[in-house]
């Protein structure tokens, strides 16, 4: 997840920097400075948002690890106190992320959850208290991932188009060819279609919710909850492919 946000940040910064380089040309120093300031300022909001999303993900991971400990603990009270604080922090960050317009359109209505009976009563109590809140926060993670994929793909396609133009022009125009030309051309022509990446990212993001619902229905153990985040690793791998070919 962290890698995903970092990849998104790097791709966005690269797209932004490539625009600066591409549009630099014979512009006057005044216009160059103006462009530099404008494009740098425009990235800050995205980078702040990505940082908040990273924090949100880390807190959720910590929460589910605590849930796992709670299921095995003989002294659940101290863990319950920690989960309460964690959930409050998760909600605070979630409130910030929810404001992002690109995310809103992906947020689906709340699902009614019926918590199953657990042998471990502290765990059952925790889920009864906070399942509805966690359902919303996981929905937010899923929505944010979809929005992230959308922006990332647009930036990656833009960078790819730029590289393609550079690759074609360096072949056609006079002058020596860069020794990396063949490798760059191969990468450009064999890169994965971005729509496939978006579909897979969307599917993996939806699995977040499905796994949580399985936990609520006592179909998986909290200790197995790491699988929830392994879906994200699938996205990461694809994003890395997209990035290496962009």
């Amino acid at each position: 997840m962290i890698a995903l946000t970092e990849t998104t940040a790097i791709t966005a910064v690269d797209a932004n920097s490539q625009t600066l380089l591409y549009s630099r040309g014979n512009l006057s120093e005044g216009i160059r400075e103006d462009n530099y300031q404008k494009l740098t300022v425009s990235l800050n909001a995205l980078l702040e948002e990505l940082h908040a999303f990273q924090e949100h993900t880390l807190l959720l991971k910590t929460y589910f690890r605590n849930l796992s400990r709670l299921a095995e603990s003989d002294t659940p009270d101290s863990i319950s106190g920690q989960t309460e604080r964690l959930v409050s922090e998760i909600q605070n960050l979630g409130g910030q992320l929810e404001k992002a317009e690109s995310v809103k359109k992906y947020i689906r209505p709340a699902v009614k959850l019926i918590v199953a009976n657990y042998k471990h009563k502290a765990l059952e109590e925790e889920l009864r208290k906070r399942a509805h809140v966690l359902e919303r926060e996981l929905e937010l993670q899923s929505a944010y991932l979809k929005a992230l994929a959308e922006g990332l793909i647009s930036d990656a396609e833009y960078l790819k188009e730029m590289k393609q133009t550079k690759n074609i022009s360096s072949y056609i125009e006079r002058g020596p060819l860069d020794e990396k030309w063949t490798k760059e051309r191969r990468e450009l022509l064999t890169s994965k279609r971005s729509t496939d990446i978006l579909d897979t990212a969307t599917m993996a993001a939806d699995n977040l919710k499905t796994t949580f619902e399985a936990l609520i229905e006592n179909k998986i153990k909290p200790g197995d909850f790491e699988t929830l985040f392994s879906d994200i690793d699938a996205i990461l791998a694809l994003v890395e492919i997209a990035r290496s070919h962009s």
């Binding site: 932004n16 992002a100 833009y158 133009t165 022009s169």
Partner: protein, 113 residues
């Protein structure tokens, strides 16, 4: 259209224009223009990239009224830009349509850095 749909349409158009403006076809056409026109195109691209980020991060509640007020011109501008992007060889039409669309976008979000 609902405000969020107008915003999404605008963002999509800006992103497509950004991509088209760094394509091989556009590059070939650009080289045939005067240095002044080439400069204009490069500044335009930087403005479009800036507009994408501003539009993406603007809170809908802050731009809702302006989106609705400018909807007809945003739709018309987007359609005419779409048409211009079909033929990148006519680069001056692309620059004119993109400049026009961006000026309407500038009524919705602040485009001066």
């Amino acid at each position: 259209m609902a405000p969020y749909e107008i915003r999404d349409m605008t963002l999509k158009e800006l992103r497509e224009t950004r991509k088209a403006m760094v394509s091989w076809e556009y590059y070939k056409a650009l080289k045939k223009l005067s240095p002044e026109k080439q400069q204009e195109s490069k500044i335009l691209l930087a403005d479009i990239v800036y507009a994408i980020e501003e539009m993406r991060t603007a809170e809908l509640q802050n731009i809702r009224e302006k989106l609705l007020l400018n909807e007809p011109e945003l739709v018309a501008g987007s359609e005419s830009l779409d048409k211009a992007l079909q033929n990148l060889k006519k680069i001056e039409s692309v620059i004119a349509a993109a400049t026009n669309f961006l000026s309407v976008v500038g009524r919705v979000i602040k485009l001066v850095g």
